[in-house]
């Protein structure tokens, strides 16, 4: 099979709900643009291309989710967007300006929170506020920090240090720290992947609620299709690496505010989830097949055997 299931074919019945829109022209002005971006590590024979030929637009005010399996270069992509690493080729622009390094304009929420353990909740948030808004008065900054601590519901834990917080609370602090910088773009690098399922679900609602209040341009990397559909306006699958690139975008045309319990019974939601999942599974299978075809290893024929029933109940007959 050389043709992977394209979203258009699987989605033919549900065309009205979710369309391939990467050709759409009436889109709002892009906030960030990636043009033919590639990134790899190592050199010579050990060179490993992680991302190859990435083209993407992040529009003003939209919530974009990038979905991909682990190991497909998701973290590399966020680091590129944040400016922590530079692309090997191609260019990343933000408001028509080439991104050359990290900046508080692109707030990054880290996968493992990366809170500074020696600072309290307030200290961690104040670190970024004091830096980004250094021209403000002390009282103004204090109030600003308070506002964001309240937004994530941690007013009772202001003086605690990260090791005294649960995983969910830590991620809230991390989120508040980034939001308090008032970034133009919010980059979320698998923000919930280290949390347990229950906390994760609570945090999804939280992120959704905050986003609906702020309507901030937002890019979230995730490996959870349900999560992506719940929060995002558009979903872009990241094809598996090496040399990963982006698949065609799916538009999520579900009304906001979205409710998880209701969504579970929503036909559009189910169809979209199937479409995205099928696409991801199909690309992965193709990529594995390609890899197997490329590999020079001798193919080992496995013997055609199957296990026999050795249970005691079978033996008592003897």
């Amino acid at each position: 099979m050389n043709a992977i299931i394209s979203p258009t074919t699987t989605m033919s019945r549900t065309d009205a709900e979710a369309r391939v829109i990467h050709t759409e022209s009436s889109a709002p002005k892009p906030m960030m643009t990636l043009r033919n971006v590639s990134k790899g590590y190592g050199s010579g024979a050990t060179r490993n291309e992680v991302l190859k030929g990435i083209n993407m637009n992040l529009r003003d005010g939209e919530f974009l989710a990038v979905v991909g399996f682990s190991g497909s270069g998701k973290t590399t992509l966020t680091q590129l967007l944040a400016g922590l690493i530079r692309p090997d080729s191609g260019e990343i622009t933000m408001n028509e300006e080439v991104v050359t390094g990290p900046s508080p304009d692109r707030g990054l929420v880290f996968q493992n929170y990366s809170l500074l353990p020696w600072l309290t909740v307030r200290g961690n948030i104040a670190l970024s506020v004091d830096r980004v808004f250094r021209h403000w008065s002390r009282a103004q900054r204090h109030e600003h920090v308070d506002k964001f601590i309240e937004m994530v519901g941690l007013t009772h834990a202001v003086h605690r240090r990260p090791h005294e917080l649960s995983g969910g609370m830590r991620q809230r602090v991390s989120l508040a720290r980034t939001l308090a910088m008032k970034p133009k773009v919010l980059l979320l690098d698998e923000p919930l992947s280290a949390l347990d399922a229950l906390t994760r679900s609570v945090m999804q609602d939280e992120i959704l609620k905050i986003w609906e209040e702020e309507r901030q341009t937002c890019l979230m990397i995730t490996n959870d299709v349900d999560e992506a559909i719940l929060v995002a306006d558009r979903i872009v699958p990241l094809n598996p690496g090496p040399s990963a690139n982006l698949g065609p975008a799916f538009t999520v045309e579900l009304d906001r505010p979205r409710n998880k319990t209701e969504l579970n019974h929503n036909e559009r939601f189910k169809q979209l989830r199937n479409a995205v999942t099928n696409y991801l599974v199909a690309v992965r299978q193709k990529s594995r097949r390609d890899e197997a075809a490329q590999s020079t290893q001798v193919r080992i024929d496995r013997p055609n055997i199957s296990p026999k029933d050795l249970s005691l109940s079978g033996r008592t007959q003897l």
Binding site: A82, L84, G101, P102, S103, P104, R106, G107, L108, F110, N112, S114, L116, P117, W118, L127, S128, R131, V132, R161, P162, H163, E164, M181
Partner: protein, 372 residues
């Protein structure tokens, strides 16, 4: 936070697991469970110490040469009590002496006053004579008031001197090792440049450094007036030897601590565009403090160990010199006193180590090391 969790936190940070079962008992936890803790941290050590003392007294009865005998626990303890009694007796005698001198100073001063008074009424030669005598009395009074007893330092004095020396040497070592370690950790090139020196000098024994340290100190002191010098030569030689030996653990650990700062913390710094000094003081230094303090702890331990040897050789007043002098004078008490100082040296070393563990735990949030 209630009493229980506060007290438990204190036990954890202070490195005192001995207290933990008692805190839990006081908080009304299951006594059976806590007995296990008490048995482990208190009863077992007491038991092993008893066994040790038993073995020691047996050895003391066996190890006997023509002129001397290994001091047993009793003899050692008596020698210790005697040393402290000597100390207090000496201090009391010194105090009495000072008071006597002060009394005579006041008397001399009074005499001088009287003579001066008389001089105002007298005239001519008589007046000069009176004033000269008054001046002589005054000088005597000043001498008496400034009297410092010149008694030999007691055992406790020696301990205090040793502690001063080790802290001075440790402070020099820290002031050199921490900045160098930070530079090494931040720049792999700088680290590569220093590595040969670290590798070669780290294993050198204090005894090898001592003559060189002595030479440098003597060179630095040539031609200077002994009265204006801040420190004694022997004190500096000891202190510098201590620094040279205790420098390395701090240097190596600080380098490691700074070089291994979590990459995510550095990414936070980059996103915030922190300046170089902000990165250093707000991210790198706080993040590397736990490892730095682990190094300082080893350094202080090494310093204390080295100091005894350095004191012996440099003849710097201190515990090392005390041991050496006792060994040289060869009285019947010699070996008991040496045994007692061995125990005291060990106990002080233990105390210093606990202090450093406590400091380390105070700076490593959520990751206190067990008091090993």
């Amino acid at each position: 936070m209630n009493f229980r969790s506060k007290a438990l936190k204190f036990c954890n940070i202070a490195g005192l697991p001995v207290l933990e079962p008692f805190v839990r008992l006081a908080a009304g936890e299951d006594p059976k469970e806590q007995m296990a803790g008490i048995a482990k941290f208190l009863l077992l050590p007491i038991f092993t110490v008893c066994i040790f003392i038993g073995l020691w007294s047996m050895a003391a009865r066996t190890v006997v040469t023509g002129s001397a005998q290994l001091p047993g626990p009793k003899a050692t303890f008596d020698a210790g009590v005697e040393l402290f009694q000597m100390h207090f007796a000496q201090k009391e005698a010194d105090l009495a002496m000072r008071q006597k001198k002060l009394g005579s100073a006041i008397q001399a001063m009074a005499k001088a006053r009287v003579l001066e008074q008389a001089a105002t009424n007298a005239s001519g030669n008589k007046k000069t004579e009176l004033l000269v005598t008054a001046m002589a009395y005054k000088q005597e009074a000043v001498r008496a008031a400034n009297f410092v007893p010149s008694s030999a330092p007691t055992f406790v004095d020696q301990i205090i001197t040793s502690l001063k020396t080790v802290f001075f040497g440790f402070a020099i070592a820290t002031l050199i090792a921490v900045p160098l370690g930070v530079l090494c950790g931040m720049s792999p090139w700088f680290n590569a440049a220093l590595t040969p020196f670290i590798q070669v000098f780290k294993p050198v024994s204090p005894l090898a450094w001592l003559p060189l340290a002595g030479l440098i100190i003597i060179w630095a002191y040539t031609g200077s007036d002994p009265a204006t010098n801040w420190f004694e030569k022997a004190f500096l030689i000891s202190a510098v030897t201590v620094s040279l030996c205790s420098l390395w653990p701090t240097l190596v650990n600080t380098t490691l601590g700074v070089a291994s700062v979590d990459k995510d913390y550095m990414n936070v710094a980059k996103v915030l565009k922190l300046s170089w000094s902000q990165q250093l003081f707000k991210i790198i230094l706080p993040a590397s403090l736990p490892l730095m303090f682990a190094g300082l702890r080893i350094s202080l331990g090494v310093g204390w160990m080295v100091l005894i040897a350095a004191d012996m050789l440099a003849q710097n007043p201190g515990l090392g010199k005390f041991v050496w002098d006792e060994f040289q004078n060869g009285s019947s008490q010699t070996f008991a006193r040496i045994a007692f100082s061995v125990i005291i040296i060990g106990l002080i070393g233990l105390l210093l180590d606990r202090i450093m563990i406590c400091l380390r735990n105070l700076v490593s949030f959520g990751n206190p090391s067990p008091a090993g």
